[in-house]
């Protein structure tokens, strides 16, 4: 499920713009801002605006998109300072006084203009053990998972992530601490921690602990506020904090026990 798109509350502005209305679009490129003028159109999205600039005014403008319908997660940018999917954001919902400021996604290296290098984002996904771990001996039978078990529900709450990087761009802790794994990777780890078939739990809890891990999250909620899929990485991270704390206390207890035995 996607987050509701605020069509009814378009900042009190009509989806249908006045005829002849123009939009002033500032785009960050080459260390500065370049300004373009684009005609307002009915139900226009931010992606429509960028595409129109690239096709009609400046074919050298680089940006990225694929599906145009909120499926692929490749079109995210900073729109007036906030990370958003540009294909699912209407101009009327966000343009303040007919002005738009577009910048590449925050917290990631820029490749060119509005296209960023997603590599660090995916590297952290891997570092957080974001892949299912079947174990040495794959189970012979189907795992029976009750749909309403607490673990399955915890997985459901975070499973719809499409790796768009919006939450990663929204998180100040990533800016302050570039090693921080970030909300998306930690959210993914939490879905696997709750997957009863997974055999990599201990190693994963280890991987999401420490100065780069879940304990560094300050519960700012910026990720949760901005996720276009209405996921809540903050709560996933709180779950990881709980489970890693329990695991570390258990390890401490086991060490005591071994010493006294």
């Amino acid at each position: 499920m996607n987050a509701p798109i605020p069509n009814a509350a378009l900042n009190g502005r009509a989806v249908e713009p006045a005829t002849g209305a123009m939009l002033t679009v500032r785009i960050r490129r080459d260390g500065g801002f370049q300004t373009f003028a684009v005609a307002r159109r009915p139900a226009q999205t931010i992606l429509d605006v960028v595409t129109e600039i690239q096709r009609e005014q400046d074919p050298t403008l680089a940006y990225r998109f694929a599906c145009r319908v909120g499926m692929c997660g490749s079109c995210a940018m900073m729109v007036n300072g906030r990370p958003r999917w540009t294909c699912r954001t209407r101009v009327a919902a966000v343009a303040a006084s007919d002005g738009l400021t577009l910048e590449p996604l925050r917290n990631l290296p820029v490749v060119k203009d509005l296209a960023v290098d997603m590599e660090p984002f995916f590297e952290k996904w891997t570092a957080a053990h974001g892949a299912f771990e079947p174990g040495d001996a794959p189970t012979v039978d189907f795992a029976v998972v009750a749909p309403d078990s607490p673990e399955r529900r915890a997985v459901d709450a975070g499973i719809e992530c499409i790796n768009c990087g919006v939450c990663y761009a929204a998180c100040d802790v990533v800016t302050w601490n570039p090693d921080y794994l970030g909300p998306a990777a930690l959210n993914r780890a939490w879905t696997l921690v709750n997957d009863v078939r997974d055999r990599g739990r201990e190693a994963r809890l280890e991987a999401v602990s420490g100065d780069a891990g879940c304990q560094s999250c300050h519960t700012h909620m910026s990720c949760t506020e901005s996720c276009p899929k209405a996921l809540a990485p903050t709560f996933a991270i709180a779950g990881l904090k709980r489970e890693t704390a329990k695991a570390s206390l258990r390890r401490l207890g086991a060490r005591r026990f071994r010493r006294s035995a």
Partner: protein, 109 residues
Amino acid sequence: MNPLLYVAQRGTAVILAVAVAVHLGTILYAVRGGLTAGEILGRTQGNRAFLAFYGVFVIAAAIHAPIGLRSILREWTGWRGRSLDGAMLAVSALLVVLGLRAALAVYIA
């Protein structure tokens, strides 16, 4: 942050939440009741419950604050590694010494 430091910071936060409330309540009581310094010292002198309470308060703060300070310094300055951890241990020791000295002073005085 190591998960055990995390547990220590959250655990001491619970102690601090109670201790800060009792501490503030005591201050309000002493000030509004119009107690003089002599009367206050009369109640704290040789009072073991008083000493135990402030001893726990001081130690909880000495565990809690340096862990938080470490996070802030890591985020806002480039300071990392062993020198930072050593400095935080020093902050903790300083809080223990200053805090216990103050509590002992009114206990013995």
